[in-house]
């Protein structure tokens, strides 16, 4: 697959008949982010390369992501909230993984980013609670932000900040579970 990467700027999904026809089904993988040869990692990967799925995901993903953020933020005024919105945002990464291969998606997201995000989300939630205590209120007593810091609508924005942090935690964990289950314990038993 690596020798195909040189011919990628031509963006021809099927290699012209000639030198490289000995690789049967994986030629079109050079078309998009999947050029990292994900198939080489595991033979049993449930990844099926389909232009229909790739095109659909490419169109739908930004809308799903926006919908997840909407659910997260608009949970203050309608149904939804951080947990639901976080799951929907996490679904975007799952869709990308199913469409373009889990290995390349994992490289694109970078597994350590997920751990950092989840940790920061949890830390942020705790520090919002401790921050209100430090400002002289009770735990998660959002109106303190208004009296002490002059934040307008402190309770509403406090709730939405917390919903966003919950969403970050949940989206990160969903994505992480997806990657972890896809990778399995392969290569990790002896660690």
């Amino acid at each position: 697959m690596s020798d195909d990467a040189t011919s990628e700027p031509g963006s021809e999904p099927v290699a012209p008949e000639g030198s490289e026809v000995d690789e049967p089904a994986e030629e079109s993988a050079t078309e998009e982010p999947a050029e990292e040869s994900p198939i080489a990692e595991t033979a049993s990967r449930p990844y099926v390369e389909s232009p229909i799925i790739m095109a659909t995901v490419r169109v739908v993903a930004p809308f799903v992501f926006t919908f997840g953020l909407f659910i997260m933020f608009h949970g203050a005024d309608s149904s939804g909230g951080g947990f639901q919105g976080g799951v929907i945002v996490g679904t975007v990464v799952l869709m990308l993984g199913i469409a373009f291969g889990i290995g390349p998606t994992r490289e694109w997201v970078d597994p350590s980013t997920i751990v950092v995000l989840v940790g920061l989300g949890t830390l942020g939630f705790v520090s919002v609670g401790l921050g209100t205590v430090a400002l002289g209120g009770a735990f998660l007593d959002y109106p303190v932000f208004g009296t002490a810091l002059g934040v307008p609508h402190p309770s509403k924005y406090g709730i939405e900040l917390v919903e966003l942090l919950i969403g970050v935690i949940v989206a990160g964990i969903i994505t992480g579970l997806f990657f972890a289950i896809a990778a399995g314990t392969r290569g990790g038993e002896s660690a």
Binding site: R45, D77, S79, F83, V87, V115, T122, Y142, A180
Partner: protein, 177 residues
């Protein structure tokens, strides 16, 4: 019970049964996703859209994908049979459990009844009257979750966090890979 509700209950029962008895795990997972979708609609019918949203996103969506990823690492059972062979002791336990739970059904108030303890409780009326002024959000569910019971929600978020840490510990990894 309206026709819609009857159809919903029949759908949920049928898909739940299919999940239990189908021998092919792939079919079982698909039936389980349909079951979750049916339950999500049931939540909406019961006026609990927040719960329905969660059920649809987690139960029908993410869990199905994770199950599919898991069975991709297994082999399909051989043989011709479509349905699982009946496990009589397990069936007995399940029927006994349902029977015990069913005895509480008579004590439940009617769905949406005005005399239910939840509707007449002082706590409920307090939240409904004061949530907008005190928490500044129009969705009372969110006000209770993030403001009045914010500490509980912090606990929930930490549970999710701890689940991720647990997976990493079991896999002996430092990142999800």
């Amino acid at each position: 019970m309206s026709t819609l509700e009857f159809a919903l209950v029949a759908f949920v029962l049928a898909t739940g049964l299919a999940t239990a008895v189908l021998r092919d795990v792939l079919g079982s997972i698909i039936a389980f996703a349909a079951y979750s979708l049916g339950i999500a609609v049931v939540w909406v019918v019961l006026q609990a859209p927040d719960v329905g949203l969660t059920e649809a996103a987690v139960g029908a969506g993410v869990t199905t994908v994770l199950f599919l990823l898991t069975i991709a690492k297994t082999v399909r059972p051989s043989g011709e049979r479509t349905l699982e062979r009946l496990d009589l002791p397990a069936l007995g336990v399940a029927v006994a459990l349902v029977a015990v739970l069913a005895t509480t059904l008579g004590a439940l108030p009617p769905v949406g009844g005005a005399e239910t303890p939840v509707a007449t409780s002082e706590v409920t009326s307090y939240y409904l009257e004061n949530a907008y002024h005190e928490a500044g959000v129009e969705n009372v569910v969110t006000a209770v979750l993030a403001a009045y019971r914010g500490f509980d929600t912090l606990g929930e978020a930490v549970v999710v966090y701890a689940a991720g840490v647990g997976v990493l510990v079991v896999f002996q990894r430092e990142v999800f890979a």
